[in-house]
Assembly symmetry: C2
Homo-oligomer: 360 residues x 2
Amino acid sequence: MSPRPASRRAVTVADIARAAKVSKATAARALGDYGQVSDAVRSRVLAAAEELNYRPNALARSMNTGRSNTIGVVVGDIENPFFAHAMRGISDVASAAGYDVILTNSDEDVEAEEAAVDVLLDKQVDALIVAPASSAHVSHLTDVAAAGRPLVLLDRRADGHRYDSVTVDNRTAAARATAELLAEGHRRIAFISTQPYPEPAYSPGGTITMSSVADRVDGVMEALTDAGIPSPERGIRLDARRRGVDVVTRELLEGDTPATAIIASDSLIAMTVFQTVRTLGLRIPEDVSLIAFDNADWTSITTPPLTVVEQPIYELGAAAARLALQRIRGERVDDESVVFDAALIRRASVAAPTPASATH
Amino acid sequence: MSPRPASRRAVTVADIARAAKVSKATAARALGDYGQVSDAVRSRVLAAAEELNYRPNALARSMNTGRSNTIGVVVGDIENPFFAHAMRGISDVASAAGYDVILTNSDEDVEAEEAAVDVLLDKQVDALIVAPASSAHVSHLTDVAAAGRPLVLLDRRADGHRYDSVTVDNRTAAARATAELLAEGHRRIAFISTQPYPEPAYSPGGTITMSSVADRVDGVMEALTDAGIPSPERGIRLDARRRGVDVVTRELLEGDTPATAIIASDSLIAMTVFQTVRTLGLRIPEDVSLIAFDNADWTSITTPPLTVVEQPIYELGAAAARLALQRIRGERVDDESVVFDAALIRRASVAAPTPASATH
DNA sequence: CTGAAAGCGCTTACAG
DNA sequence: CTGAAAGCGCTTACAG
C-alpha cells in the first residue's frame, strides 16, 4: 500500500525487469503473456509490475506486432439514430472479439471522409468500416487496400469496386412501400430525401451519388411505372435540406395536384413531414398518407403511429464488424456482399386517399 | 501514374530517404514538417513520398513524441440520444483542434468502464472524458491521474474527488419541474428513473450512485418537502428497468391514490410512460401530467407535445472537450467544474389535476 | 541546413 | 526456460 506518486515518466518493461532481476525479454514475456516463462519468474515479474503500477504501452506493442487491435469506423453522423444503432452492432461484435473501435464522423462530406480514412490508416487500424457519403467519389478508398487493410462498406456501395459490403435491399423496400400506397389507391406519391442533387428536379436516369438513396428512388420509380403512373419522377424530391424539408413538404401538399402520400427517406425527414402536415391543418392518414424509412422508436407513439420500413440496422453493423474480423484473421469470407431485407411495418399512417385530399 | 501494387510492407521514411538520396533524419524532417529543411530537399523528399505513396505511421510518431493526438471517451450508451449528442459536441471541438476521438461504451457497468479506461490509457490517449456509471466506484479513475493524463468527468461527479467536470444543475432543474407541477395543484408527483438501486423502495437519504440521478431526486424531494407534501419519497421510483418502466408506470397510476403527475428521468423512459398512459386509456394532460428530462426531438410532435427539461447536451460535450484540451496543453483552466443550467420548456403535457384523475 | 547515432517501449528471432 | 541483440518507424539531441 505504498503511495504511488503520479510520475511523469511511465514505468516500462525495463523497470520491471530491473525490479524482478530478470532480462527485459523475460519480463516482457511474462507481462505480454507470450513465449515461455517459468512460473517462479512469472509471479516475480507480475508482482513487480503490480508494485510499480506497470501499464503496457499498446502503441509500442502495435509497432512490433503490426496490429493495433482496433477497427476504424467512418459514418455520416453519429447523431443520426441509424448510425448510432449500427455503431452499437459494430461495437458489440468488436468488443466481444477483443477489438476497440475508433469512430469518426464525415458529416456526409467526401473531403472530411477522405481525411478521416487517412487518419485512421495512419493510426494503423486493423480494418476500416466506412459508410461512403458518395458512391461516385471513392478513390480514397483504394488507399485502404493499398495499405493492406480490410475495408467493409456499411449501408452503401462504391461504384465500380468490389469491396466487401453490408447493405439493405433498399430498392425492394422502397418498391414495397410504394406498392402499399398504390394498393390503397394513391397515385400522386412523393418521396423526400435530403441527399444532395445537382439539378433542380430529379429526372429518370439522373445520378444520385449515395447508393442507398439511389436504390430507393429506383424502387419507387419502378413501382410507380409498373402501375402506369405518368411522369412518376414528379414526386421525387431530393436535396430537401437545401430549401428545407418543411418547404418541400408544403410545396408537395399545396399545389394544384397535391401529393396524397409521402415516403420519407429517413426518420428525421419523417418528423418534419409529420409536423408540417399538422401545421398545414391536414390529417394523417385522412388527408395525407405517410411511410417513413426506419422504425425509430418515436414512430410508434405518435397519433397516428407511423407505418415504417424497418431496416435491421443493428445487424447491419454487427455483420460489418464480423466481416472485418474475418478479413483481419484471414479467414474465408462466406459472403462478401451481405444484403439484408427490410420489413414493412403497418401501423396507422396509411389510408385510401379521399376525394377531399384529392382535390384539396 | 505508375501502378502502385498493394504491398504488404509499408513504405517508411527509410524508403523515402533512399529514393530522395538524403538521410533518414532529413527525410523525416521534411515529411513530419519539423526542424529545418531546405526548399530544394523538401520538394525532393515530398516528391519521393508522393511517388511511393508514403503514409506516416502515427504509432511510431506517438511513441517518440509521447502524444497520440487522441482523446478517449467512455459513455454509458452511445445509442442514448443524450450521449450521441454530447459525443457530437466532443468530436466537433476535438476535430477542430486536430484531435481524434476514441469512443467506448460502458453499458453503465462499472467493470466495463474500468476495462475501457484501461484500454484507453494503454492506447496512450492524451486525455480521457468519462461519464462514470457510479459516483461511488471510481477508484479506477485514479489510474488516469497516475498515468499523468487529464481526466474530465461528463455529466456526473465522482464522490470525494476533485476531477475536472462538466455537469448540469440537475437538482435545480428537477426542483423547477416539480414546482411547475405543484403550481398546477398536483400533490401526488412521481419521478421515474432506471438507475439501479439496492432497496425495493427509495427512502430519504438513500444513496443513489449516479450523481445526476441523485441530484434530480434531491431536487424533487426538496420541492415536495417545501410544499409540505407528506411522505414525498413515495413517488420516487428507481431501478425501473428491472421490473419494466411500463409496469412501474402502471403501479403508479392504478393504486388507490394514483399519481397525477410523472417526471421521467430521460426521454427513453418518457416514451414508455407516454405509451403506457395511453394504453391505460388515460389522457395527457387531462388525467396525468408528464414532464420529461431531455428535449428529444420527438417530444414536440406527440399529441400533446411534451413539457420538457432541456439540457444543453451538445455544449456539455463541447465544454468537456475544451477542458480536456486545455489540460493537455497545460493551459490555465478557467473553471474546473463547469455547471450548466437546464431550461424548462413548457408545452402541453401539464395541466391541473382533475377531480376525475384525483379519484380515478 | 544535413547526417550519424541513440532512443521511444515493446517484440522477435537467435543462442545458449 | 532465459538472455543479448536487433528491430518496429519514427523523433530527438548532438555534431558538423
